[in-house]
Amino acid sequence: MKKRLIVSLMVLAVLFGFVFCSKKTQTTATPVAPQSSAVPAQKVAEKPVAAPAPAPAKSEKITLTLWNSSQTMVDWYNASVIPEFLKQNPDVGKVDILYMPIQDFTKKLAVVLPAGDVPDIMEIEDSWATPYVTAGYFDKNTPELDNILSQMLPEFQGNLTYNGKHYGVPVAPFHELFFYNLDMMKEAGITAIPDTMDEVIQDAIKMTKTDENGKITRSGFSMRLGGNPSGTCQKFWVLGLLPNGVDIYEESKKTPGKYHCGFDNEGGYAALKLYIDMLYKYKVDDFASMKDTAAFAKEKTAINMREASSSNSIIAQGPNVNWISAPMPKGAKQRATFLISLNLYVPKDGKHKDLARKFIALATSREMQAIQVKERAGYNPYKDANKTEGLDPRLVPSFQTPSDMHVYTVPVQNSYDQIQTKIGELLPNIFAKKELLDNPEGIKQEIHNLAKIVNDVYKENDEYGE
């Protein structure tokens, strides 16, 4: 009987422990208001917010938390930003950075922001952050942060603005550029960096190598043909659509503020035709060859399209590769690149908001951004900054923006990230269709199908306009 009593007490103790833990969780969770889905973002701000953390005892130092999904940023924070921040804020004991790969990070965002169980600072790329900004999960910038933002390029102010207010500050902007292997160019008798996409293709053909079975052993141009859908779509956007003068979306003329697909036209056709021709007519790459920065660093491709910070991987993995960078070449209609940024946001339910803002102000300051450019090969967001200062000399050409360059940013639309995911998921199957070679009707049909998906997403999010 005594034994039974002890066992029963143990079970009860476990049960109490469970109940206690679950209660604790409930207090931090944010109840979902039973409203229609079209509730304006401001409404969310009225929801009950977790009580502010009690002031720490004098001996107890604060720990600030930051979540991100870029490993090179973690190194920069740890080496440059955090030591200076701790010096300036003696009441902060440490800044914890939680790095997560992109897949985990997007999942975490979707779970923790609605639940209110958030870190003090979040580092998120423009397009992923938009649905959360419009849903009211981040604080708008304070005048101090807005003052910093106002000194940066107008593109950043545009893509961080919602309902006339700014959310977040760019901490690591990046643009798209081309990397060329100089030894391979020399070997192929190419003497100048190509300036147009047609020249790029001609040079890529010369630099592509195959074995006796026709298998590509060295691609002339490394094409993004799959993997993470939003990345696949982003590359199609900057290599295919923008140089052909079209974008993923177009603002409705009838109803401003609403959108529809922008590439169900000649530009979209030319973009997909470019991919199909590169794969099956010019054969500068295929699905099986090694891809991206790893291929460039191992000299398995002659030309790669990426952001400047990938030069760090090239240097680390292929220190003997003789390379140079250049701005995006001119396409059939225009020369274009994108300017995207990782931004720092203060979550609405954050515990140490003032300190978080101080951290953001420091990380995005001119001094820290200069270090960021130097250490990460990043893009300096300040209007008056010398964009090439501190850069590896091989990167300098790609930061000297030609006067005819059109710079595109990610729009503030709830649909945009979903569109990227859906399009990026379908593109690899389309690229794999060899039968699209010299098949204008087939290409037009594929573009039309993609356009329908884009418009459906806009309709679902109530952002569609004819």
Partner: protein, 296 residues
């Protein structure tokens, strides 16, 4: 004596209930309530990140059941489940028989080696297999080419990448199945085999008429558990086919479809509807499997 006995029985019952009820309550909170909530959400238009929800009857189910991507995921999942369960169960049984019958030094070490993949995390082990299957530098293609064959693009073609995913799953699962079968084999009385020996039964007959029938409950357990695991295949498919180094599509499975609807496209309603479809599929397959094996 009877009164004493019934008092004792009552005490036992109360004791058992006091142990079981709290556990059942916890189980209900952790398992059943979320399933019921998912069922409820599957009839709602509900965003993952925006407040508010709207009752939309069966629209989410209609969307899911008419979505070509859902059927692509379903077909991929069935393929993986079918071959992974078959191979992992057969190999598990084979290895368990070998381990059970072999009387050689170092067998327990071999057992440990065979069980090792079970405790290794799925992400690093899939990455290791991804390297082995690499088209240009992978060990497997190098062996194929050494034998005079042509290297295969294992990863970037959806109809081919299924096999590496099956192999990773079988490699990870067979050690666990082997252990379960091994325990089952140990429980079979030795005198049954001795009697069979006296009757002149050969190895095959002993396997067919003694081992397999007596292992039936274990086999049912292993099949059901493996099936449930493989129907939920996710990590190995994602790790094997995502990333900028990959070409072609991410190998979409049902769980990936659910994840994508909920966390990437933010539609909790559709994600919940797909989850309920998955639940029904698992339930039906398990029921069918139990029915067939009981009938046998």
């Amino acid at each position: 004596m009877n009164r004493l006995g019934s008092k004792r029985n009552r005490q036992d019952t109360i004791f058992c209930l006091s142990i079981v009820i709290p556990i059942m309550v916890m189980f209900a909170v952790i398992r059943f309530i979320p399933i019921l909530q998912t069922f409820g959400i599957s009839f709602m238009k509900k965003s993952m990140i925006k407040p508010g929800q709207k009752f939309i009857w069966l629209d989410n189910y209609k969307y899911v059941l008419t979505d070509t991507e859902f059927y692509r995921s379903l077909s991929n999942t069935f393929f993986i489940a079918l071959f992974s369960v078959t191979f992992s169960v057969l190999l598990g049984l084979f290895l368990a028989s070998v381990v059970n019958n072999a009387n050689i030094v170092g067998m327990s070490f071999c057992q440990t080696l065979l069980f090792l993949p079970v405790i290794v995390s799925m992400v690093p082990s899939t990455l290791m297999w991804k390297l082995l299957f690499d088209y240009n530098y992978g060990f497997i293609n190098q062996v194929i080419e050494l034998l005079g064959g042509k290297g295969v693009d294992w990863i970037n073609n959806e109809s081919i990448v299924r096999w590496p995913i099956v192999i990773v799953g079988v490699w990870k699962e067979m050690g666990y199945n082997m252990m379960i079968f091994y325990v089952g084999l140990k429980a079979i009385p030795r005198d049954m085999y001795e009697s069979a020996n006296l009757d002149g039964a050969n190895k095959g007959q002993k396997m067919l008429y003694i081992t397999l029938p007596l292992l039936r409950p274990i086999t049912l357990f292993v099949c059901v558990m493996s099936l449930i695991k493989f129907i939920k295949v996710f990590t190995q498919a994602i790790v094997m086919t995502s990333g900028s180094q990959s070409s072609g599509n991410i190998f979409k499975t049902l769980v990936y479809y659910i994840y994508q609807q909920g966390f990437q496209l933010h539609s909790m309603g559709r994600s919940s509807a797909a989850s309920m479809v998955l639940l029904i599929i698992i339930f039906l397959l398990t029921w069918l499997q139990m029915k067939v094996q009981k009938k046998d």
